[in-house]
């Protein structure tokens, strides 16, 4: 087996790629990141965000602490808000997610019974120090429902429909009190 054919065949492949990179359009696969960007993928999940309907003060989250218990790397800390008499309110006073620990696995979004926490698409979140600036507090996590519709249209519409259905069901079950 002389040192001939296999080598020339191999060289012909790389030469073809070289020539094609000038002629064929799809041959160069690089996406020049800051100028060109890949199109947005709906189910892409990065770090979690809290969703509120009208006012940021009233997020959907009721501080039930299920996501904090279920989170595998335990990066969510929730403190329930208390009114003056010390009774617990249906609202978190403190809701921190330590982004340096979170591995964006999406389990909090699955287990949340109130559809309050979702995985965001925003990935350009660089910070100068690891400890404090990556520990996102509630203000930084809150995002309006319209933003959710913008990044995840199909899921957002389904959830809105579900919530609306739950609203009617609640209205129907105790018409006496509200009507």
């Amino acid at each position: 087996m002389s040192y001939g054919l296999g080598i020339l065949k191999g060289m012909s492949v790389t030469l073809k790629q070289f020539v094609e990179s000038y002629t064929k359009k799809g041959s160069i696969v690089t996406v020049q990141y800051p100028e060109e960007r890949r199109e947005d993928v709906e189910r892409f999940r990065n770090f979690p965000i809290l969703v509120y309907d009208e006012k940021p003060e009233a997020p959907r989250c009721v501080a039930c602490d299920i996501c904090a218990k279920e989170c595998p790397p335990k990066c969510i800390t929730i403190v329930r808000d208390r009114d003056e008499q010390g009774r617990g309110l249906q609202k978190p006073k403190v809701f921190d997610i330590d982004l340096s620990v979170c591995m964006s696995c999406g389990i909090c979004e699955e287990v949340c019974p109130f559809d309050a926490i979702f995985m965001d698409h925003q990935f350009e979140l660089s910070a100068y120090d690891r400890m404090e600036s990556l520990n996102y507090h509630q203000e930084k996590l809150l995002k309006p429902n319209s933003y959710l519709h913008q990044i995840r249209p199909t899921d957002a519409t389904q959830i809105d429909a579900k919530l609306k259905a739950k609203e009617e069901a609640k209205k129907k079950t105790q018409p006496g009190t509200t009507a």
Partner: protein, 392 residues
């Protein structure tokens, strides 16, 4: 005449070097920080000149005791951690864990979910084998060209994973009793496109590599693993099949719905690095056949069983009955198994991973003795280890 005389000399004289002067053995540590150990893996190699005299692998640099963490967490909480075991094929890790828990708790998986799982597992096999061949050529010295062709094809498949499961490499897609979400709308067209031009990519890859004399002279009859040693040292996966042993868990156990698909299992003859390279290329072609059949036969229906959905919704309440179970699948690197012992609580009592690359390393020294340093590197490359799985 002079030429023949020279060849005769070269046959007789040079083959019997008597070393009168005492040479010193050179002890070299290849790794943990070395360009081609595929991660933090160290080989303490004693060299006589260039030939390997003794080779002791040392591992544990990436050990994070995945099994202790799993004992402290609920069953579902360790699903995202299984992505980090063999971080190139996260879907097959999830599948192995899901199958083990389903065996433990006796959960049924609907038809469509089985097909989705087979499609994802075979796509991961394509990704893993393409990457491996690319990195093997990298260890051989080809300046990144085959690797980047491999990455170019892998990107297309990773885009599919991202669109369906949400992440490219850390998919966390499978649940006990099915999958997290149904295939995304554009999945089937993209899959058809990949399956159609993957063979063309493989032909071009083979044209670049398989007949290449340098690759053949570097890989043939190097690091030979005899058949009986392979079986005795429980090597599994393409490493075993390259030595000619016909043992593929997809055929032997017939788990999930693999018996419905018609595909063949390629076997090597000599069991050297060249066979391991070529068996993986043939396995890729078989995986494409499976994907074609699965694409045609996938039925509509629910993607997760009722019981599975409630389990995923509230992992705290998922309590498998007491007892133990051992589920295993044919991951691209070999037999990946999970041995689970449950004591009725939501946390597993004992969670053990049977990692293929860790056990395939048992015979690394036998294959490397007597060969050159350069060969030891490509033999390690051909065994296809990933340190996340070796060290757990």
């Amino acid at each position: 005449m002079f030429v023949i005389w020279l060849l005769v000399i070269s046959r007789t004289e040079m083959d019997k070097p008597e070393t009168t002067l005492d040479t010193q053995m050179l002890e070299v540590n290849i790794g943990p920080q070395h360009p081609s150990t595929h991660g933090v893996f160290r080989m303490n190699v004693t060299l006589d000149g260039e030939t390997v005299v003794r080779l002791k692998p040392a591992m544990g640099y990436l050990h994070r005791n995945h099994e202790k963490i799993a004992e402290g967490a609920s069953y579902l909480a360790s699903m995202p951690f299984t992505d980090r075991l063999d971080y190139i094929c996260s879907m097959t890790n999830n599948l192995a864990y899901a199958i083990a828990v389903e065996k433990l708790a006796g959960i049924e998986v609907p038809e469509r979910a089985q097909y989705i799982r087979v499609i994802m597992a075979e796509l991961t096999r394509l990704v893993n084998h393409t990457l491996l061949v690319g990195f093997l050529l990298n260890d051989l010295g080809a300046f990144f060209t085959p690797t980047l062709y491999a990455f170019r094809e892998r990107e297309k498949i990773l885009d599919l994973f991202e669109a369906t499961s949400g992440a490219r490499m850390m998919c966390n897609y499978m649940r006990f009793g099915g999958v997290k979400a149904d295939l995304h709308p554009g999945f089937m067209e993209k899959l058809k496109e990949i399956v159609e031009n993957y063979p063309r990519f493989l032909d071009e890859f083979e044209k670049l590599l398989t007949e290449n004399e340098i690759l053949m002279s570097r890989c043939q009859h190097v690091g030979i693993l005899p058949k009986h040693l392979a079986v005795d040292a429980s090597a599994t996966g393409p490493l075993l099949r390259a030595s000619g042993v016909d043992y593929d868990i997809r055929k032997v156990d017939g788990y999930s719905i693999y018996p419905r698909f018609k595909f063949r299992v390629p076997l090597g003859s000599v069991g050297d690095v060249y066979d391991r390279y070529y068996v993986r290329i043939l396995e890729m072609r078989e995986s494409i056949k499976i994907l074609e059949q699965a694409m045609k036969e996938i039925p509509p229906g629910e993607f997760i069983s009722k019981q599975g959905a409630t389990g995923a919704k509230s992992p705290r309440t998922f309590r498998p009955p007491k007892g133990d179970a051992y589920g295993r699948i044919e991951s691209p690197k070999g037999e990946l198994g999970f041995y689970l012992v449950s004591d009725g609580t939501p946390n597993p009592y004992r969670y053990h991973v049977r990692p293929p690359s860790f056990i395939n390393l048992t015979i690394l020294e036998d294959m490397c003795l007597g060969c050159k340093v350069a060969d030891a590197i490509i033999i390690l490359g051909s065994v296809d280890i990933v340190l996340g799985e070796v060290d757990r």
